[in-house]
């Protein structure tokens, strides 16, 4: 089981990967730029994502919205920005592949002549509304910002969220957008996957034809930063919510680093689904919580591991904290039992198969090839990635948990209804997110 591919690097540094899948007459174009919000600086946050919006607003040779020709052709398209990378993709009928490549290459090579103050102002308004819709007006929407701010020091590039600070978005300028494009949006900082109903040789010819003339840009310095916390940070955040909620967060291994797969397995057996330890104990048996979830959020520089739970009205965040911490401590002491790890492995293996079902879009095969290629320089990592999970032993999982999930090195955030600071875990310090 793998995602077969062929890779060439163009003279300008653009990495091109082609994967054939002739099952459905569609082709995915998936382009990653190795830039995200971690390339921003304090007081200039939100820029990488705002810039992603501008990439859909037209380029020198097609100075109109990018959605029109591609949707008219029966395609779908989107993009996204996270801390580490920005991706753009189209899924088009196979005979429309050249249109997608024409447009992706035009905005890589010729964006700036078309990037105007009016577009910049309009998309800033759109992004401010995106922020209102997905963070400010959404219950618990600001919790992630409070956690990141506490987990990483102010100068660390994971300190801020990708959507950015409102004041920074207002202060952003068109000149900065031009500089940002020149620094990061060029062939030598990008990886292109063409996947689907296309012949490999034809796809490479097209990639060379459309992208080969674009000059390489300046080298991009890799961002590096480390972070750790040496105490338990207890915070409370008031929000427009009916019920309080507890967020426990620890630093954890980076994406694909040693321990990443083990922490993912740990997350699975701790809180994924009804069979998981915490669901079973907190929701099913003891009825202390209405929901519980966990996540190994692995990122390029470092990861964080998070457990989130909402108490039933009869119980408190402090009780949940005790129960969750006790369960984690048990796991760190005894490790999982073979049968529960076996179950997690079965789910992981099936999920790797399910990931092979789509060529395009977020999480499709083209996106996976780009993730492996961009972060590891090894697009063929699929099988080894799976092996990390299948070969992990109970003792490996126990050791990973013990190394990272100490109670004295975490952020414990209590999100409480307005005016109900009494519901927070005792000793929590009030924090504010704007």
């Amino acid at each position: 089981m793998n995602i077969a591919y062929t890779k060439h690097v163009l003279d300008n540094g653009l990495q091109v990967l082609v994967h054939e899948d002739r099952n459905c007459p569609i082709v995915a174009v998936n382009l990653w730029y190795h830039v995200g919000s971690k390339n921003e600086r304090p007081h200039h946050t939100g820029f990488a994502h705002l810039f992603e919006h501008l990439m859909f607003e037209g380029s020198a040779h097609y100075d109109r919205g990018y959605f029109h020709p591609l949707q008219q052709a029966g395609g779908v398209l989107n993009g996204s920005t996270n801390a580490d990378r920005t991706n753009y993709w189209e899924v088009v009928p196979r005979h429309t592949l050249e249109l997608a490549l024409w447009m992706e290459s035009d905005r890589m090579g010729y964006l700036l002549p078309a990037l105007t103050e009016a577009k910049f102002a309009n998309q800033r308004d759109v992004v401010l509304n995106e922020r209102r819709q997905n963070y400010e007006n959404r219950p618990y929407g600001l919790a992630s910002m409070a956690v990141l701010a506490a987990l990483y020091p102010a100068a660390h590039p994971y300190h801020w969220s990708t959507i950015g600070e409102v004041a920074d978005l207002h202060a952003a300028t068109l000149d900065q957008a031009h500089d940002f494009f020149r620094a990061y949006y060029h062939p030598a900082n990008a990886s292109l996957v063409i996947a689907g109903d296309v012949e490999t040789a034809e796809a490479f010819d097209l990639a060379q034809r459309y992208f080969g003339d674009i000059p390489p840009g300046p080298p991009v310095a890799r961002v590096s930063a480390t972070a750790s916390i040496d105490r338990e940070v207890r915070l409370l955040l008031e929000d427009r919510v009916e019920m309080p909620r507890l967020y426990l967060t620890w630093h954890s291994p980076a994406m694909f680093a040693a321990g990443d797969a083990e922490m993912d397995l740990l997350s699975d057996l701790l809180a994924n689904g009804k069979t998981s330890r915490l669901y079973r104990r907190l929701v099913y048996e003891r009825r202390l919580a209405t929901d519980v979830s966990s996540l190994q959020n692995s990122r390029e520089l470092s990861g964080f591991f998070q457990v989130v739970a909402t108490p039933t009205p009869e119980h408190t965040l402090a009780e949940l904290d005790e129960e969750i911490s006790a369960e984690i401590e048990r796991l760190m002491a005894d490790g999982p039992v073979e049968s529960e790890l076996e179950r997690s492995r079965a789910q992981v293996e099936a999920n790797f198969v399910y990931r092979l079902q789509t060529v395009g879009g977020f999480g499709g095969k083209s996106d996976q090839l780009n993730a492996y290629n961009t972060f590891l320089g090894d697009a063929g990592y699929f099988e080894r990635d799976l092996a990390q999970y299948l070969e992990a032993t109970c003792e490996d999982v126990r050791r990973a948990g013990a190394a990272h999930l100490a109670r004295g090195r975490r952020v414990a955030l209590s999100v409480v209804p307005q005016g109900r600071t009494d519901l927070a875990v005792p000793g929590s310090e009030r924090t504010v997110v704007s």
């Binding site: 007459p25 959605f67 309009n122 998309q123 009825r287 997690s344 079965a346 099936a350 198969v353 079902q357």
Partner: protein
């Protein structure tokens, strides 16, 4: 060869979508079984379509169908809920129950080598749920807590208030999840009764799509579901009444949400049933109006004015006439402006600025050339087939889709816009801060503002 950047490349002729070859059979108990091969990945998806959803809830028991759906996977026979999910996890299954207005869909996706085990689990869940008292109390409490949390989620508050506003006491007038009052009154006997009445083989369809021959799929379904019998004297779901023809008494309503960062908006009316002969024309109309990014309403509200992250419209085609609605979440200070622009677009497409030949061509090609994408995965195929089964659509529906859309012309789009969209009678709902929003609404000339309950907790 260098690239000609003076014009966009011209696309070649569209490739024909690869449509699933569907075989339809019926078991001796009346259960319809549809199968289709899908061989790109060793995965199989099975969907059971039960043609009874939230519209079958008794008037004083909104949420019954949904709660019943939630109880299905809480154990069967000697297996507890935990055991059931343990068994599902050990075959890597994705399991999902979805209760909509017209149907309950219970779906399982697993590796094709686990087909028989997956079907056995699906049959346990659907045919033999324990429906035990202890589980019922736990599940009901969790739902009460969930409903309490949803009070603060603006899109949900809007969805619930809007259904009631447009449909009144009609069975489409409540959201599937129901409300806290009804949930507190619901009994386990009612859940058992609903399950016994609605989950019967006659009228239901099992759709199996995946990496296996038709004969294997049918044999596996028959092994798991062949013994399914309806209790004596049970007749399944009842017919639904026609939805109200009249618009809501007041047109303009608001759910007060103090200090809300945005206003959640809905504009709409009772519109079209799934079996309308105008279905394809309405799809083309909606694609132009608000069905994709480049639609008039999104271009206006988002791209021209920057009022919102996105704005859209949709027809929700159902057994009876489902709603048409506009929806968006906009910056509070521009609420009235956004409503004016949206209403303007709804009116314009009916005559002042009818869909142009170019717009219609763009919408038609978006729908027809994009059609192939809908059949990439086994889940997509099974889901598409579930709509055919649920609404009794013709066997050659997929084959007819492209020619039917291609046949839609300007006159037809204008006619359906005039027949189905009546912006002067549509309900308008705002979930937002009354004090910020209300003063600006007078110029809309939509009549007095009705205040509806349900805004949730206070903000800072």
């Amino acid at each position: 060869m260098s690239v000609d950047r003076t014009r966009l490349p011209v696309s070649g002729p569209a490739a024909a979508p690869r449509l699933p070859e569907v075989r339809r059979t019926r078991l001796s108990n009346g259960l319809a079984v549809w199968t289709a091969g899908h061989h790109s990945v060793p995965v199989v998806t099975v969907v059971l379509v039960v043609p009874a959803g939230a519209a079958q809830d008794p008037a004083d028991r909104p949420g019954l169908a949904s709660l019943t759906g939630d109880m299905l996977d809480e154990g069967s026979g000697a297996r507890s809920a935990i055991d059931m999910h343990d068994a599902l996890a050990r075959i890597g299954a994705q399991f999902d129950t979805e209760v909509g207005a017209d149907a309950t869909l219970v779906a399982i996706t697993t590796l094709s080598r686990h087909l028989a085990a997956g079907l056995d689990l699906l049959a346990d869940v659907v045919l033999r749920p324990s429906l035990a008292a202890g589980d019922f109390e736990r599940v009901r409490r969790l739902r009460l807590n969930r409903l309490q949390q949803l009070r603060d989620l603006a899109p949900f508050v809007a969805e619930r208030a809007f259904a009631r506003w447009i449909y009144g006491t009609h069975p489409y007038g409540h959201v599937p999840v129901g409300d806290e009052t009804a949930l507190a009154a619901l009994t386990l006997d009612e859940v058992r009764g609903f399950h016994a009445r609605m989950f019967v083989p006659e009228g239901a369809t099992v759709i199996a799509v995946g990496d296996a021959p038709h004969a294997s799929l049918v044999a596996a379904v028959e092994a798991a579901f062949g013994g399914w019998r309806a209790p004596a004297g049970v007749h399944g779901p009842s017919d639904l009444p026609e939805p109200p023809a009249d618009p809501p008494a007041g047109r303009l309503a608001l759910v007060h949400r103090p200090a809300a960062a945005q206003s959640e908006l809905r504009i709409g009316q009772v519109a079209a049933a799934r079996d309308t002969p105008d279905y394809h024309a309405l799809l083309v109309l909606n694609t132009i109006l608000g069905g994709q990014f480049i639609s008039r309403i999104n271009m206006n509200l988002r791209q021209t004015h920057g009022y919102t992250y996105g704005a859209r419209t949709a027809f929700d085609f159902r057994r009876r006439r489902g709603p048409f609605q506009f929806e968006s979440s906009v910056q509070s200070s521009v609420t009235a402006d956004a409503l004016r622009e949206a209403l303007g677009e709804l009116e314009a497409i009916r005559g002042p600025r009818p869909a142009t030949a170019d717009e219609i061509e763009t919408a038609r090609t978006a729908l027809t050339r994009g059609y192939a994408r809908n059949f990439e995965t086994a889940q997509q195929v099974a889901r598409a087939l579930s709509q055919l089964a649920l609404y009794g659509l013709p066997d050659d529906y997929f084959q007819q889709f492209v020619p039917r859309v291609e046949a839609v012309g300007e006159a037809e789009v204008l006619r359906v816009a005039r027949d189905y969209l009546h912006p002067d009678r549509m309900g308008i709902l705002i979930v937002g801060d009354r004090d910020v929003v209300a003063p600006g609404l007078a110029p809309l000339q939509a009549g007095p503002l009705t205040l509806l309950p349900g805004g949730g907790a206070a903000a800072s």
